[in-house]
């Protein structure tokens, strides 16, 4: 009987002590510990943040962190650069520099700038390759108001202002190829209602920061970028939206100690752009006034210059009309963005053609070039529910045979749920390109799909053979729309890349 009593007592004890320590799931949640260095940096910054202040990040940056580790003064020891502000105060942004002394972080200097936000924060070697300058761009708040760029050097635990400039856009990079960085800024317009139309390049000259080059234009400067432009060269990309024609793209590169616009494209060659062949360039244009010459990389709309093929080199976009079926009046002109890579000399190499309209995105397969046209359903809606890519061996769209190569279609989730079983029944291949959540509350979500044609067509002989060569597999479609098949595999491994 004693044994029973003891056991019951033990049981009650166990239960009570166990229950007393049960924690609710909510109490147990905490962020995963930061990896190594980040953790310690975050910890060491905390004591220096006044209460009520929060870390803040720049809108643009060479690196978007609120806490940066960089050697500003070139002494081999890195400093901590921390940006923070009080969220409810709209006119003060702080940048704190901490230096490591006697094994702990000490406050070196605090730069308090006036502005609503930090627009730009860069740490770049501008004057000496061994040290770095701190570039701070403050946003004044309000559209069209200029932003203010301050450049500081850091020495003897003090930040010293080197330069102050108002700007509208900024790009930083090793444009001159001398191991230092240069700053390109689009100056704000003289009048508040005007647009910026002047580009300045600032950089080291005789040990000091100075204006290295200037370019004037008659139109708005857009999309200022300093990026790798060819395998060897770094260039300043910009788009100018002018008044005369729709606009043009410039690629300014350092040539023989001078800044020249590489994209000097003769009209005769520009006119052949729809062939999507490589384009021969003329001598670069060194004129400080970009408006002087007519040999330009004309663009009908500002398509993004970007590294389209992920090779580290930024390609130049050229809006290019696509072959349509009917007279141009009957349906909207369709465009593709043709991307060209500079060879570093006098030629632009055709990279790829990308159809990018109404929310559709498709890289047009190289083997289709010259063999297809686009058909749109006859509707004058603002959105186009369907785009057909059609094989057409003949110049005249009305004559001869044709066959469907691919259909891109946007439809609501409900419609898609009705269509899908049909497709699966007929064993028609399709690729779901993506879906968006409801654009507005109450509206349904949209699905974009690519439908592969079935094999029925009225082609014969050589045409049928050629058509077969042009047809895409579902995997190719996925590749052409940028759906990364590698990622799917990784998802199965459940391993986080970080």
């Amino acid at each position: 009987m004693h044994a029973i009593k003891i056991a019951v007592l033990l049981l009650i004890l166990l239960t009570v002590s166990g229950c007393g320590q049960i924690a609710s799931p909510g109490d147990l949640l905490h962020a995963p510990n930061l990896a190594g260095e980040e953790q310690s940096l975050y910890r060491s910054v905390q004591p220096f943040l006044p209460s009520g202040y929060q870390l803040t990040t720049p809108d643009q940056s060479d690196q978007g962190s609120a806490i940066r580790l960089a050697d500003l003064n070139g002494d081999g020891e890195k400093e901590l650069i921390v940006s923070y502000k009080k969220p409810d105060i709209d006119y003060e942004v702080n940048v704190l520099i901490l230096s490591r002394q006697n094994g702990s972080w000490q406050k070196a200097d605090l730069i308090t700038g006036s502005g609503t936000n930090l627009d730009y924060l860069g740490i770049k070697p501008l004057i000496h390759s061994s040290s770095a300058e701190l570039l701070l761009g403050y946003e004044g708040g309000g559209y069209g108001l200029p932003k203010e760029l301050y450049i500081y050097s850091f020495a003897n635990q003090k930040a010293v202002e080197l330069l102050h400039r108002s700007y509208d856009q900024i790009a930083v990079g090793d444009l001159a190829g001398n191991g230092l960085n240069q700053i390109a800024i689009a100056l704000p317009a003289a009048e508040p209602n005007d647009s910026p139309s002047q580009i300045e390049v600032l950089g080291e000259k005789s040990g000091k920061l100075a204006v290295l080059a200037e370019r004037r234009t008659e139109g708005d400067v857009l999309n200022l970028q300093i990026e790798r432009a060819s395998e060897q060269r770094i260039g300043l990309f910009a788009q100018v939206l002018g008044t005369k024609r729709s606009g043009y793209t410039v690629l300014l590169a350092w040539e023989n100690g001078r800044l020249g616009n590489v994209l000097s494209l003769p009209q005769s060659i520009y006119d052949k752009r729809s062939s999507r062949q490589n384009l021969k360039l003329d001598e670069p244009d060194y004129n400080p006034d970009l408006a002087v010459t007519e040999q330009k990389w004309w663009i009908d709309y500002p398509a993004n210059n970007r590294d389209i093929d992920n090779d580290g080199i930024t390609e130049v976009a050229l809006p290019n009309p696509l072959p349509n079926t009917d007279e141009p009046t009957a349906q909207p002109q369709t465009w593709s963005d043709s991307y060209y890579r500079w060879d570093g000399n006098r030629e632009m190499t055709f990279v790829e053609d990308r159809f990018w309209q109404w929310g559709y995105e498709l890289r047009i397969p190289d083997r289709w070039l010259g063999h297809y046209r686009i058909e749109l359903p006859k509707a004058d809606d603002t959105t186009v529910s369907e785009v057909l890519f059609v094989y057409s061996p003949h110049e005249d769209p009305e004559g001869g045979s044709s066959a469907l190569l691919l259909t891109l279609r946007q439809l609501s989730m409900e419609e898609w749920n009705r269509l899908r079983p049909l497709l699966e029944n007929q064993q028609n291949e399709y690729v779901v390109l993506g879906s968006t959540g409801p654009a507005a509350p109450g509206s349904s979500s949209e699905v974009t799909v690519a439908l592969l044609p079935d094999t029925d067509n009225n082609l014969t002989g050589a045409e049928a053979a050629e058509y077969e060569k042009l047809r895409l597999t579902a995997d190719e479609v996925r590749e052409m729309v940028g759906a990364d098949t590698d990622e799917e595999e990784e998802a199965n491994h459940n391993v986080e890349k970080h």
Binding site: I4, A7, L29, P32, N33, D59, S65, A491, N494, K497
Partner: protein
């Protein structure tokens, strides 16, 4: 171990408990795991979705880095999750610690958010060297996904808590098992101990200790067993007493004629000059020897019945003629002490299959008994009544009768009742056996001091022509 009740009981209860405990443990573990992880996911998800919804509603049109900055600046100080704003490639624009990274996060939750849904993910993070749970919600501008808001928490505390609870559950389960084990030991002891006691007592009884009594502690099966053991012991002691009585009776019965024979023998040895005395002595010796032979035959007979060696040689006979013969024989004999026999028999024959000699032995025994117990000049009535296919043959006397307490035991072997009459006490037992072998039975009714009626009930054969020739000649009388 399995040979004892205790071992089996322990094993069976142990197995049962183990099964129950295991099943409950598994259910508990699954429930706890589900509760913790689902709740955590819901908490993180609600935070992520709320934050993303706020951002989507109030910051439409802003760039992703502006929104990231706003999210960073307006983080709740108590935010327990790691918050990340990712671009469409999965690169961290900024996390809640102010860092950005060009490393791409491509877990399924991020992928789901990039597709416009809310995704969650649980797994091991190489970056944090621990298991995490992450929920991603899309950041949308004008209906288009521009980035991902990702909330992640470490699941290590959840795993620890779940492991702790499961540990407790296992400990409690083990305690329950131990308790069950102890209880079953006690139960086994409570079952086995009385059985052991009974075993000891029954051994004692077997050695002839008739005073041994099993104590009936509970009114259960064991109690019943104890009671029947006691009963058995009582019966054993009674039969022991009966046996002793019998031996003394038989010795007495044997000694009386032997004494007489011895006496007469000595007398005759003394001289045979008186012829009359010699003749008387020899007659008495012969009679007493006959009596001894009869007694020994009775004993032999009885032992044969006991051994089941007696076979009935049944043939079709007429019971009525047997009864008539007996009636005549006994009324003529004017046998002893002036007792008369009156008969009342039916006129028709009573056909049956029987061993007539054995049946005769039965009735002779009954009639002799009746005579033995009747008063001087008394009357004995022999009647037979037929009912359907049974016949009731009654032998009735007005003798001393049998006390009620003896009535049940009459007919058991060696039982002689309280009467002082001589006899082995085997006659009625043998008669009962014979009647039983004929498919009938004997019933005895008696009132002490009034008289006794012994009724033999025998089955009759279906009416068939009676074979008179089958009737056997009279056998010598049976004397008891």
């Amino acid at each position: 171990m399995l040979k004892s009740i205790r071992g089996r009981l322990l094993l069976q209860i142990g197995l049962l408990l183990l099964t129950i405990v295991l099943v409950l443990e598994v259910i508990f573990a699954a429930a706890v795991y589900t509760y913790y992880f689902d709740s955590a996911r819901q908490i993180v998800q609600s935070r992520a979705v709320t934050a993303a919804t706020l951002s989507n509603q109030f910051m439409e049109g802003y760039t992703l880095s502006e929104r990231a900055r706003y999210i960073l600046e307006n983080l709740v100080p108590s935010e327990s999750s790691r918050v990340e704003v990712l671009d469409l490639q999965g690169r961290t624009i900024v996390d809640s610690y102010g860092f950005s990274s060009t490393q791409r996060i491509r877990t399924p939750d991020v992928r789901a958010a990039q597709q416009g849904g809310v995704g969650s993910y649980t797994g091991y993070s190489q970056a944090f060297k621990q298991r995490i749970m992450a929920v991603s919600s899309p950041l949308v501008s004008y209906g288009e996904t521009i980035g991902t808001l990702r909330f992640s928490v470490s699941t290590e505390p959840l795993y620890r808590e779940v492991a702790k609870l499961i540990g407790w559950a296992i400990a409690i389960g083990a305690a329950v098992l131990l308790l069950g084990f102890a209880l079953s030991l006690i139960i086994a002891r409570r079952i086995v101990d009385p059985v052991k006691e009974l075993t000891a007592i029954s051994r004692k009884m077997a050695t002839g200790d008739f005073t041994a009594r099993a104590a009936r502690k509970h009114n259960d099966e064991i109690g019943l067993l104890a009671e029947s053991l006691n009963y058995m012991n009582e019966e054993l002691s009674k039969s022991e007493k009966m046996k002793n009585d019998f031996i003394s009776t038989v010795s007495h019965e044997l000694r009386t004629p032997l004494t007489s024979i011895k006496g007469w023998g000595e007398t005759l040895v003394g001289g045979l000059e008186d012829e009359e005395t010699t003749t008387l002595g020899l007659t008495i010796i012969t009679n007493e020897t006959d009596r001894l032979i009869g007694l020994v035959e009775d004993l032999l007979d009885f032992s044969k019945y006991q051994a089941g060696e007696i076979r009935m040689r049944s043939i079709p006979v007429d019971l009525n003629s047997l009864l008539r013969q007996l009636g005549i024989q006994y009324s003529q004999a004017d046998i002893k002490r002036g007792i008369t026999l009156s008969t009342n028999l039916p006129n028709e024959p009573l056909p049956m299959h029987a061993d007539l000699n054995r049946l005769k032995q039965v009735f002779v025994n009954l009639l002799d008994n009746a005579i033995k117990f009747s008063d001087l000049n008394g009357e004995i009535r022999l009647t037979a009544v037929r009912q359907d296919l049974q016949v009731f043959v009654a032998v009735q006397d007005d003798g001393e009768g049998i006390p009620a307490e003896d009535l049940e035991k009459i007919g058991q072997r060696f039982y002689k009742g309280s009467s002082k009459m001589s006899g082995s006490g085997l006659g009625l037992a043998i008669s009962k056996e014979i009647v039983r072998l004929h498919g009938g039975r004997i019933s005895i009714e008696s009132e002490y001091g009034v008289g006794t009626t012994v009724t033999v009930i025998l089955p009759l054969a279906v009416a068939e022509p009676l074979n008179e020739t089958a009737e056997q000649p009279d056998k010598p009388e049976w004397l008891l």
